[in-house]
Symmetry: C2
Subunit: 410 residues, 2 copies
Amino acid sequence: MVLIKASSMIKKMEGGTIATPAGFQVAGMHTGVKRKRNDLGMLYCDVPASAAALYTLNVIQAAPLKVTKESISKERKLQALIVNSGNANACTGKQGEQDAYTMRRAAAEQLSIPEHTVAVSSTGVIGLDMPMNKIIPNIKHLELSTDEKAAAAFNESILTTDTTTKSTCHQITIDGQTVTMAGSAKGSGMIEPNMGTMLAFLTTDANIEPEILQLALKEATDKTFNCITVDGDTSTNDMVLTMASGKAGNESLTPEHSDWEKFTGLLRHTCEDLAKMIARDGEGATKLIEVEVSGAYDDGQAVKVAKTIVGSSLVKTAVYGSDPNWGRIIAAIGRSGADVNAAKIDTSIGPFQILQNSQPLSFSETDVSRYMQNDDVKISVDLNVGNGTGKAWGCDLTYDYVRINASYRT
Amino acid sequence: MVLIKASSMIKKMEGGTIATPAGFQVAGMHTGVKRKRNDLGMLYCDVPASAAALYTLNVIQAAPLKVTKESISKERKLQALIVNSGNANACTGKQGEQDAYTMRRAAAEQLSIPEHTVAVSSTGVIGLDMPMNKIIPNIKHLELSTDEKAAAAFNESILTTDTTTKSTCHQITIDGQTVTMAGSAKGSGMIEPNMGTMLAFLTTDANIEPEILQLALKEATDKTFNCITVDGDTSTNDMVLTMASGKAGNESLTPEHSDWEKFTGLLRHTCEDLAKMIARDGEGATKLIEVEVSGAYDDGQAVKVAKTIVGSSLVKTAVYGSDPNWGRIIAAIGRSGADVNAAKIDTSIGPFQILQNSQPLSFSETDVSRYMQNDDVKISVDLNVGNGTGKAWGCDLTYDYVRINASYRT
């Protein structure tokens, strides 16, 4: 309820970019790490910004994550991010760590800011040494700007096999001040020869302390980025980073602030926007799948069921084939580990109810199959055992997923 | 060590079938539930056999599982199994339960044995009422026999989209007596319009009490059937059933018997044989993948890591493409949840060591890729943190997997 109220006050900014919140500039360029598209990006804030970040849960973590954690731990303030694509700097040992530190130092020197206010991020091939000869000399050629062209160049610089850039920008009013929040993300894409990564960088001019921002980011991420799945794999490089410049001039945001829910609503909205863009652009995907679960024992179990359904290869192929194959949905629910009454499950695909009390209703397969040909396919489940609700997003499993991941050498 | 010793005493029986162990007969026939292949099978033992069974962990369980559990709970003895393919009798409510009881009664009457000594199993479409008019009148036409033709007919009668029948037969000597054990299984195949199921039926003439057999079956299943994955989904109908006639004349087997490990070795060997056949015949599969993990904190964690690797869509597509993409292997290890030292992982693909201390060795991509074109691809991982070992089996993820599961209507 709160979320819907908050959402209704969130204004989408047409043409807004990651550099729209007050204080931020960006740049992106091509250095030759990737063949064609931009591969080096920088985000800069003209004041030290409150910083919050979350990292992959994979115990194998790439060197840039270590360096970024170290930067943030010092003062919880960041002024810049240096990011490259084409090489993940993962499984690169001591040399990889040195390279990540070198990238941080080069960016700091270029911007004349302390090293510990710079975050480092990489995505791309793992296990190959970083092409430092391409990255370092080009850092000084990055031309920071607030204009749309620079933002587009930055958005491109973080992509791997993504087919589109992913960005979002919204505004709300807090304490009579306009607060802007924007984000840029990349999704799970496979590149020669290794793994995909999810990166999301959020900027806002909201005034908020880093510790509070961290809590809010964690909560928003748990209900958005952590609820998408493309193929169940978790990268070594995943990172969600948020910087808040404080330039909007609102009173410092805390859970006691009367507009706290407005702000967390904006943050969640921004994360959800980017999360859905990532899911929709999953490798080989032709459709976005949204699963909404209600009536679960609690919210955690609802999310668990939603993620199990949206992550099922059988459900994903059925959606690809526009096949109202509810048996696969109920089988996924049954193995999710959530508390379920096996005789009380209701399920709908789009507007069509398919199951009541776990048994099939009569429905037109043709109509449901036609609905499933949409770019957006929604599956709703009511477990009828409690009040927990949750959502998850994913994409269909297609021939192209296999092609992209099996035959990259051809 | 014990297993290897035991294995060396296990003799493969060429031409042996599920009806080879003393006391057993089988039958299989076509009744029209499926279009062409046999769809009704029966297994019979001329004495009440010690029975042990394990069922799917999916909380949504099909009606035949309920009936079989009820049968076994009475005396832990079975004399017969009636099984059909083409319809899973799952999500069929009260009618489905009645139908499963009716199948049990019809089989018991035909064989003049008590109802509670009959097990019932079904696999196929879910959510459709059972075609009882096809099944029941044909039970009396099932012609039990010990010959190879009858066994072949039975093996076929349990298949769905499996491309081959799956059976195995071995012998050992216990107390100077020849003990024979055989098995017949079906794998994960998708059928109109729903889910696949794993069924395995084992027969032996060993003399063993049902409670002891149950413990041994659980242990063997945990290391074999529970270590295969085709696409991570769990059916509503999975069942592993074992019947021991006792006709070999050995002294009753218990953990105190001097040949106990010989027997459990045979049981595990039989289960592993069938499990690998199921994995190799996974939907669309072209290759069997075996992952062997050593140096884990304990055996449980080793199996966890092995299953995560063999279940990764990224690893599966890489194997399909004969691509030595070790980044996907290490990423799967990292997200497995096992205790891992991120800097100490060794990995080999077949005879080629790829990673040492988590960093890539120089190896010939051409040679490794050529090795990966085999029908059997082995991945070995040493975590170097303990003495735990474990194995898991799976198959590659191919265009055909998507075709079979997305376009069954065409």
